[in-house]
């Protein structure tokens, strides 16, 4: 596909998203806003698992932390902007601290370690009744005083800006290469001078930052929280969205979140029975079956740019030239 048609598709995609408020009723607009907010936590998995290769089963913990920090502070009269700042900064710090032990773990062990964190947060939210009101739910959360359509455009803008930033980071930057070098081979990455532990800490903190932001937005938008929203099952729902999106593709993550939030709602046409969930589960299975690279992999394949030869390759001699080897002269 040529550059021009790729840009055309991007513009159409954004235009389609921007037109949603004109096409749907309040119920679906609400779903779209929630999906866009949830895209942030799926991005957090893109950074952690997709770029850096670390598996977390505890993302709902960071979302819950961000949401409840914002919620509790705002109920206690802290202005929303300050509460939001705390709701983003504190989970980031917790992510960094959790990273200190977790980044030393590998693969499955790290997944179980983060699962423990998710369970811990869910239990705390449920049992610290004095602070969180536990299962009774947290009511009276103040918000930014935006109407629903404004909310939609704000979270859409945020989701798209983050999408662009992540795609840029992934495909164009040196940092993207460094993160992925850790994912593919820690030993060779460290032999190249990459501080693997530091990179993992960075990924953990960035991921907690995104998940915490997701939580703050969730609390500010819904104005009501219960601990059920942040159980470990939610972590797996986010992971499923990331996997269907093709872990590592931010675009896939956004599309997949929109679809996987919308489809279960649309399937309510089947009635409130288990048939709905059965159909949903089968759909996910089929996506993974036929698109092993997820939605992101499909997009990449369709939009693969026509191969342009690199500037130097035309004149590249096959044999090494003398004096082309860079090196310190001592």
């Amino acid at each position: 596909m040529s550059d021009a048609s790729i840009w055309l598709i991007r513009i159409l995609f954004v235009a389609f998203l921007a037109a949603i408020p004109f096409m749907v009723d309040a119920y679906w607009l609400n779903m779209a806003i929630l999906a866009l907010i949830y895209s942030l936590v799926v991005y957090s998995i893109t950074v952690l698992t997709g770029f850096t290769g670390l598996l977390s089963f505890g993302q709902a913990g960071f979302v819950g932390l961000g949401a409840y920090i914002y919620g509790v502070m705002s109920v206690k009269g802290v202005p929303p902007v300050a509460a939001a700042a705390w709701g983003i900064v504190l989970p980031t710090i917790v992510g960094f601290l959790l990273g200190l032990p977790a980044a030393r773990l590998r693969g499955h062990y790290m997944a179980i370690g983060t699962l423990g964190f998710g369970v811990l947060v869910a239990q705390l939210l449920n049992n610290m009744v004095d602070v969180t009101r536990g299962p009774m739910g947290l009511l009276g959360i103040k918000s930014f005083g935006l109407d629903r359509v404004t909310w939609f455009y704000c979270v859409l803008a945020l989701a798209l800006v983050l999408l662009a930033a992540l795609e840029y980071l992934d495909r164009r930057t040196f940092l993207g290469v460094v993160l992925k070098s850790v994912k593919y081979d820690e030993i060779s990455a460290s032999a190249c001078g990459v501080g693997v532990f530091g990179v993992k800490l960075l990924a953990f903190s960035a991921s907690a930052f995104l998940a915490g932001t997701c939580g703050v937005l969730l609390a500010a938008y819904m104005k009501f929280l219960t601990p059920d929203l942040f159980l470990s099952a939610e972590s797996f729902r986010y992971l499923m969205m990331a996997v269907v999106g093709g872990v590592g593709s931010a675009t896939g993550a956004l599309v997949s979140t929109l679809i996987l939030t919308g489809v279960p709602e649309a399937l309510r046409a089947f009635g409130e029975t288990n048939v709905r969930l059965l159909v949903y589960g089968l759909m996910v299975l089929f996506v993974l079956w036929f698109l092993p690279g997820g939605i992101g992999g499909l997009i990449d394949r369709l939009m693969a740019p026509r191969r342009k030869p690199r500037r130097t390759s035309a004149s590249a001699p096959q044999a090494p030239k003398a004096d082309t080897v860079p090196g310190r002269v001592s």
Binding site: T173, F174, K180, S188, S190, C192, G193, V194, P326
Partner: protein, 258 residues
């Protein structure tokens, strides 16, 4: 008399009940090609692991330009100028050749704390693309820059690893059997590269079973057997040495016939 860039003194390493290395001494100067040979299981790869930091040594010391490095982690040694290739090639299969080689820049960039500035710069910016393209040209794989490593034939992958070492501008390069699986042409190109690196002042440590290559390239060889150094000298001297012949060479020719 120049000081050695890399100096190992009494390096020992034990894995459980196996004494893998026992009191190894080794010294290499800038611009030298130093062969490390010995029978399979002698401890050559273990020694490379000790120098790069994958293996922690039990006794002895390792100095790089006079500074002790034996307690430092792998990435810190890489930043100080130790680069290596792997016996079993280790590259990011799903990344392009360009991206793999760019990874090698981490050693130089992160050697300074200010290296974190500019990590968000695009790969096409001159500070990244110029050294990478230069290294790709030097290794003769510039035409493969945008290919994924997974799609390359085995021999080419050696050169990707070599290019990744080149961009790091290391003081010491450890090549662990770099000629395995290379065609004759590729072997020639490898020889040229090794000589160029040495001429630029890099100490090249070459672990290789291709004795013809070792004989042609190396200024010095160290022979180890059962974790002990049994010889250190020129290839011609090694050829005459009883212990080396018995342990490893047999009837093979190491030095060029006079």
């Amino acid at each position: 008399m120049t000081n050695p860039v890399l100096q190992l003194t009494g390096v020992s390493k034990r894995f459980g009940g196996v004494q893998a290395l026992q009191g190894i001494d080794l010294a290499g100067k800038a611009g030298e090609v130093h062969g490390l040979i010995g029978p399979n299981g002698a401890g050559k790869s273990t020694l490379i692991g000790c120098i790069t930091g994958v293996n922690r040594i039990d006794a002895g010391e390792i100095r790089l330009r006079g500074d002790r490095i034996e307690a430092l982690p792998v990435h810190r040694r890489a930043r100080m100028g130790v680069a290596r290739t792997f016996q079993k090639i280790r590259l990011a299969q799903q990344l392009t050749v360009f991206e793999n080689v760019a990874t090698g820049l981490a050693a130089r960039r992160f050697a300074k704390a200010s290296g974190w500035w500019g990590v968000l710069a695009p790969l096409s910016s001159a500070s990244i693309s110029e050294p990478v393209e230069q290294a790709l040209l030097a290794t003769g794989i510039a035409d493969l820059a945008d290919e994924k490593v997974a799609s390359l034939p085995y021999g080419k992958r050696h050169f990707v690893e070599l290019a990744r070492n080149l961009v790091a501008e290391p003081d010491v390069v450890l090549l662990d059997e770099p000629a395995t699986g290379l065609t004759d042409d590729e072997r020639e190109r490898l020889s040229t590269l090794v000589r160029q690196m040495a001429r630029r002042g890099t100490l090249v440590i070459l672990v290789e079973h291709d004795l013809d290559l070792v004989g042609r390239l190396c200024d010095t060889v160290t022979v180890i057997e059962y974790g002990r150094r049994i010889f250190n000298g020129t290839p011609a001297e090694a050829q005459e040495n009883e212990a080396v012949i018995r342990a490893y060479l047999g009837s093979a020719k190491l030095a060029k016939e006079a």
